[in-house]
């Protein structure tokens, strides 16, 4: 009797497991993204950095918003402004829910990217964009924790920065979900951000 109960119990658990697996399947696995899905990644979990106004910020500050993090430098003539412009277009295309799309810029050039320059620069794109300023000491650790590459390269009597141009997207719970390549267009990103915002409802 005891063994029969155990078997039944075992079957019941198996069925329960199958049912819940299929339920989870409906909720999670059917979500398809245009960008690279990196849900469950063990890097880029959080940050604790000072913004352009001297406030210490963490991901927690942006709960309820889809956050897009971009690493860059302001003396960049090409890629960084292109990526920020794309972010502006994504926000515009989202319409009213654009309020729940937050762009966070983390400098890889703390030497030249002063809070004044970064806040003026980001404001030219969108007043809601947040600039974060790792110190020279913090930068290697921050980059490592996001698996972001950066390198100072001399040019003329100045220098430029090689850096990862991928944008990282977080859901409204602050979980890292997507890696968005620099070459990705506006429309597919908008679609992905909408998906993340809808999942939060």
């Amino acid at each position: 009797m005891l063994s029969m109960l155990q078997t039944l119990n075992g079957r019941f658990l198996l069925v329960l497991a199958l049912v819940s697996a299929s339920l989870i399947g409906c909720g999670e696995q059917n979500v398809r993204f245009n960008a690279t899905d990196i849900t469950g990644a063990n890097y880029g979990q959080d940050f604790e950095l000072v913004d352009s106004h001297g406030q210490l910020r963490t991901l927690e500050d942006f709960r309820g918003e889809v956050v897009m993090i971009y690493f860059g430098f302001i003396q960049c003539p090409d890629v960084c402004p292109t990526a920020l412009m794309r972010a502006v277009e994504v926000k515009d295309a989202l319409g009213p829910s654009g309020d729940k799309f937050r762009v966070v810029y983390i400098t890889v050039d703390p030497e030249r990217d002063t809070p004044e320059i970064v806040s003026a620069y980001l404001a030219a794109f969108d007043p809601g964009f947040v600039g974060l300023h790792p110190t020279m000491e913090e930068l290697p650790e921050v980059a490592k924790s996001f698996r972001v590459f950066y390198r100072k390269v001399p040019t003329g009597d100045s220098y430029t920065m090689d850096h990862t141009a991928t944008s990282f997207v977080y859901d409204t719970q602050g979980r890292l979900r997507l890696a968005v390549s620099h070459s990705m267009e506006v429309a597919p990103i908008v679609e992905d951000v909408r998906t993340l915002l809808q999942a939060a409802r």
Binding site: I74, Q75, C76, P77, D78, V79, P81, T82, L84, M85, V88, E89, R112, T114, E116, I117, A120, Y121, A124, F125, D126, F149, V153, T155, G156, D157, S158, T160, D162, H163, T164, A165, T166, S181, H182, S183
Partner: protein
């Protein structure tokens, strides 16, 4: 002697036809105060093989020709010694590719203003010729930079 002189005159007269670069839609990306660098973009079409070898501008202490490349989504920007302009082929200097890099900026690049730039070319015989252009500054963060302005055609001449 007389013949060769005539030849020289003819060559001089013909020269602009053979060493001409059409510059279209030149623009400079706007900056914020204290920003030290920005890029100039344009389309270049040479009538005969030429190379863009240098550029100068009164607004910048240093001007270089740069190439941008993406490797595994890592952005790399490098100075190149020259940009080849094969005859009849339009070379586009645009975000994601080539640009004229303006460094040590002496002033803020304000949207709507015009920046003079001197382009220095070399023809296939290695002879240099310059061309003055005026590039319009597109405000930083303005929608679709470079796409919203009327076409400007500017032609180069041998000096």
């Amino acid at each position: 002697m007389k013949k060769s002189l005539l030849g020289s005159i003819l060559a001089l007269a013909m020269a602009p036809l053979f060493a001409q670069v059409t510059v279209e839609d030149p623009w400079v990306r706007g900056t914020v105060p204290q920003q030290q660098a920005t890029g100039a973009f344009m389309m270049l079409t040479a009538e005969t093989d030429a190379r863009l070898v240098a550029a100068e501008s009164p607004v910048a202490g240093v001007v270089e020709i740069h190439e941008m490349a993406m490797e595994n989504d890592v952005m790399k920007m490098r100075e190149i010694p020259a940009l080849d302009l094969p005859a009849g082929q339009t070379m586009e200097l645009k975000p994601g590719g080539y640009h004229v890099m303006l460094m040590q900026l002496k002033e803020q690049m304000v949207g709507g203003t015009v920046v003079p730039i001197t382009l220095i070319f070399e023809d296939s015989a290695g002879e240099r010729f310059t061309q003055e252009i005026e590039a319009r500054v597109t405000a930083l963060g303005a929608a679709r930079e470079g796409a919203d302005k009327p076409m400007q055609h500017q032609h180069g001449h041998r000096h």
